[in-house]
């Protein structure tokens, strides 16, 4: 019969036939009904903050979650997604990414460049956004690179692929300056001819670079504080100032950014691998008066978990990546377990357009290695990064009032056999596997390659 169909109707009937036999292999999420609001019903909802609801519903109104629970009242005219057999989790948040950045990610022409900002170079149409969406990711912290000791400002954005760049930013998100320690800023892994070597080439030089930068920033801050006090009449003007007038100090955007760290207005996001360098910068911070917000990668964090915890630093880690560099050779996949046990807030990040597509598997590794609970593991890619990025008032869990950022899986998100079927940001569907250009559809000739 197949043969006859193939011969008779050209490939058309054959095509229909093959679709008929392939489609039932995968159940599909269908959207039924009409209306501005969206209701996902009969789903297993992993709220993260309020347990898991079997056969629950989520009502989305105006981009926000208006109701969650087993039985919720919803308006009559709504679009309904029957998610029987599906799992819903909060949209995944990647605490360390370099996606969506136009051009290079490093302003490494100098060792201290906190005046530059990733927010100025966001590329809204990065194809890797689409791919991350297919992995259930809805928000990322996209960062300056780690080629210099003090890099630029971060951007916390939602992956609203196709929307103009300015609509991607999450209002109120923490602003941070990227710092980097160890092999990258000391340029260990770049072949450099002897004559071209530049300071710093050691962890000693890195410490000094930070110390020097903040010494200048403190002086700058002192001048501005003094100026403000004089302007407000709180301290006396000098004789010269009385005649010539009060002149403000020269504005320096580089020092301004560092001064903002000292003022507590900007946060530090610190690329660090080894325990010794993390201890160094925490000690330096205590001495100079700055606080590190997070250690990125934090591979040897397990060795100094108590110190990290007592300084209130977040550990933004890889689940199991290791041995690609000398400073990554003592990394262990049990890092998350030890850090968590000793009271450090842990987030699992990707730092890669590949790994970002399967952060849920990375989170599952924290269960495998050291036995985090399912909820704790899920927290590392949802509410914990939200807390870290200062967006937990609107992201990171499925709660009434929060943004409707959701990922729908066709099975338990920690099962290797599950995949993301739909990703929603603020109530809008940004990924739907039934409508996406999939390889199978290209092979079947259903979509143009």
């Amino acid at each position: 019969m197949i043969k006859r169909m193939a011969r008779k109707g050209g490939s058309f009937y054959f095509l229909i036939f093959s679709i008929m036999i392939t489609i039932p292999l995968f159940a599909q999420l269908k959207i039924e009904g009409k209306g501005p609001d969206l209701v996902i019903k009969n789903a297993t909802i992993m709220t993260v903050t309020n347990g898991t609801i079997d056969g629950g519903s989520i009502w989305i109104h105006n981009g926000k979650i208006k109701g969650v629970g087993k039985q919720i009242k919803t308006p009559r005219d709504v679009r309904i997604i029957d998610a029987t057999g599906y799992y819903v989790i909060p949209g995944i948040i990647d605490s360390h990414s370099h996606m969506g950045i136009e051009g290079g990610i490093n302003e490494a022409t100098g060792q201290v460049t906190p005046e530059v900002s990733i927010q100025d170079v966001i590329r809204h149409d990065d194809i890797s956004f689409q791919r991350a969406l297919a992995g259930g990711v809805t928000a990322i912290n996209t960062l300056h690179g780690s080629a210099n000791v003090i890099g630029g400002r971060n951007a916390v954005i939602k992956l609203k692929f196709g929307k103009p760049a300015e609509e991607l930013f999450i209002p109120g998100a923490k602003e941070s300056i990227k710092f980097a320690l160890g092999e990258n800023p000391k340029k260990s892994n770049i072949p450099i001819t002897r004559g071209q070597r530049k300071f710093p080439a050691s962890r000693m030089g890195i410490e000094y670079t930070i110390r020097e930068a903040f010494t200048k920033a403190k002086e700058y801050l002192r001048k501005w504080d003094e100026y403000e006090m004089k302007r407000k009449g709180k301290i006396k003007l000098t004789k010269w100032e009385k005649t010539a007038g009060l002149i403000p100090p020269k504005r320096d955007l580089r020092l301004e950014a560092l001064a903002d760290i000292l003022r507590g207005r900007l946060d530090i996001i610190c690329h660090a691998y080894r325990a010794d360098e993390m201890l160094m910068i925490m000690r330096l911070g205590d001495e100079i008066g700055f606080k590190v917000g997070s250690f990125e990668h934090c591979l040897e964090g397990y060795r100094i978990a108590d110190e990290i915890a007592s300084h209130g630093v977040v550990a933004s880690i890889f689940a199991d990546s290791w041995a690609y560099k000398m400073e990554a050779f003592d990394a262990i996949p049990y890092n998350a377990a030890i850090l968590h046990e000793r009271g450090v807030l842990v987030t699992c990040n990707s730092d890669s357009p590949e790994r970002v597509r399967r952060l849920f598997q990375e989170a599952a590794k924290t269960i495998k290695y050291g036995g985090l609970s399912e909820t704790e593991a899920l927290r590392t890619i949802t509410i914990n990064p939200a807390i870290r990025l200062g967006i937990d008032n609107r992201c990171g869990s499925i709660e009434v009032g929060k943004d409707a950022d959701l990922a729908i899986f066709n099975g338990h998100p920690f099962s290797i056999y599950s995949r993301v079927e739909m990703t929603i940001i603020e109530g809008e569907i940004y990924f739907d596997i039934t409508r996406a250009k999939t390889t199978e559809k290209v092979v079947e000739g259903l979509v143009k390659d």
Partner: protein, 436 residues
């Protein structure tokens, strides 16, 4: 004289210390694994079955089996027994720390190196070997890289004190990085290389013809030697180790294992294999989904992946995930690979991800067990749980492709291997650090 003496004593002392410190990693003897669910991969799953290991082999498997005396008994109640997994392409033993070149022996200089052997540089005590095996990977193909012909791979068990103890087969194949054509606009990036696509195209064509010429030379070399050995009248031809290494390939005793990814390059590689009349296995084959029937028609097995890779700029988002499924459906024999050393332990997740995107679960498991064994000509001793096969066995608390599963017992060639690694030791040490 005196210094030499001190040195010698020093070496002996260090040696003694090392010997005391090295723990006994494995225990030989007979083993009985009972009460477990045995997934044989070959036939039906055996509930509540017994598996007997004698020496390095599986002696029996089933319900009514004779239990040897003095065997160590392992109660696998609630656990699952699987054949150990096989990584179809990796750099285990050749590669320690990526950024530290002194620790990397995976690549040789030169364009045509069929005479280079992975086994020659294999470090049996690489830190990555125990870390890989505790996640259920018990054997792997160790592959040299670099150049157009990279050398000869070795198939190893992930346990042993020496290279001889580890290597099950060497060489397994001669590895070729097939010359790549410039990408057309569909796969944009490569065309933008310096020199432009025309230069790249010309270079590629030249490289392919060089490769053909080299194979023809090897054929003539082989013929000259054969005729010399037949008559012994002519003077002996001069030895050429490079051509000599290719002779088993020419004679179809050894396959070429061709690393190739783009659609056009795959087609070129098929043409090359056809015209050279050599046995071939393909590796990588990222665009396999576009030419699956062709690969099936030519009966070329594929070491597919790595699956966990970013697709090309204009590929569908799931191209790497679905590739294995489409190849398998077309009838191509597939095996999964990591092409890595530090991430060999994550091999099961490459297979699992392919299963999430359509590959039947049973096929995903076969593609990390029996299929790679068969592809490398080791199907009679590895890949399934059958009496007579090498006892490469894992006992797990769940499906070995699932991230959250743990390996509870591990046997390689009948030896019960320790589950301790650098990672577990550091974990134990630092979780016990007194609280500050």
């Amino acid at each position: 004289m005196r210094i030499g003496y001190i040195k010698r004593v020093g070496v002996i002392l260090i040696g003694a210390v090392v010997m005391v410190l090295v723990p006994c990693f494995s225990f030989a003897g007979d083993f009985v694994i009972k009460n477990g669910t045995i997934i044989t991969v070959k036939g039906d799953t055996i509930q509540n079955g017994t598996l007997i290991i004698k020496g390095d082999r599986i002696a029996a498997v089933g319900h009514d089996v004779e239990v040897p005396e003095n065997a160590e008994i392992i109660d696998a109640r609630g656990l699952f027994v699987y054949p150990g997994m096989i990584d179809g392409s990796c750099t285990l033993g050749l590669y320690e720390i990526g950024a530290v070149s002194a620790t990397v022996d995976a690549y040789e200089i030169g364009t045509y190196n069929p005479h280079i052997k992975a086994m020659a540089a294999l470090n049996p005590h690489s830190v990555h070997i125990p870390i890989s095996r505790v996640n259920g990977i018990t054997s792997a193909l160790v592959v040299p890289g670099g150049g157009i012909i990279s050398g000869q791979s070795a198939f190893i068990n992930l346990n042993g004190w020496t290279q001889e103890e580890m290597v099950l087969k060497s060489p397994v194949g001669i590895h070729i990085n097939f010359p790549r054509l410039p990408a057309d606009d569909r796969r944009g990036m490569r065309a933008r290389r310096p020199g432009g696509s025309e230069t790249v195209k010309k270079r590629t064509e030249k490289q392919i013809s060089e490769l053909i010429e080299l194979f023809n030379k090897a054929r003539r070399y082989s013929e000259r030697w054969e005729s010399y050995l037949r008559s012994k009248k002519l003077p002996a031809p001069e030895k050429d180790l490079m051509l000599e290494a290719l002779v088993p390939v020419i004679k179809e005793e050894l396959p070429v294992i061709i690393s190739v990814n783009a659609e056009k390059d795959i087609k070129n590689a098929i043409e090359f294999v056809d015209s050279m009349k050599v046995k071939a296995i393909f590796s990588g084959v990222n665009d396999g989904w576009e030419v699956a029937p062709l690969l099936a028609k030519h009966n070329i097995p594929v070491l597919v992946g790595p699956v966990l890779q970013t697709p090309g700029p204009r590929d569908p988002f799931d191209a790497r995930y679905v590739n294995a499924c489409i190849l398998n459906r077309a009838g191509v024999k597939i095996a999964f690979i990591t092409n890595s050393a530090a991430d060999v332990r994550n091999l099961p997740y490459h297979a699992g991800m392919a299963a999430a995107y359509g590959l039947p679960k049973e096929e995903a498991l076969k593609a990390v067990t029996i299929y790679p064994a068969e592809i490398f000509g080791l199907g009679d001793i590895l890949g399934t749980i059958e009496p007579g096969k090498l006892a490469n066995i894992i006992v797990t608390d769940g499906d070995p492709l699932e991230v959250t599963t743990h390996v509870k017992h591990l046997f390689i060639a009948g030896e019960k291997v320790s589950l301790k690694t650098k990672h577990t030791e550091l974990y134990e040490k630092f979780r016990k650090r007194p609280k500050k």
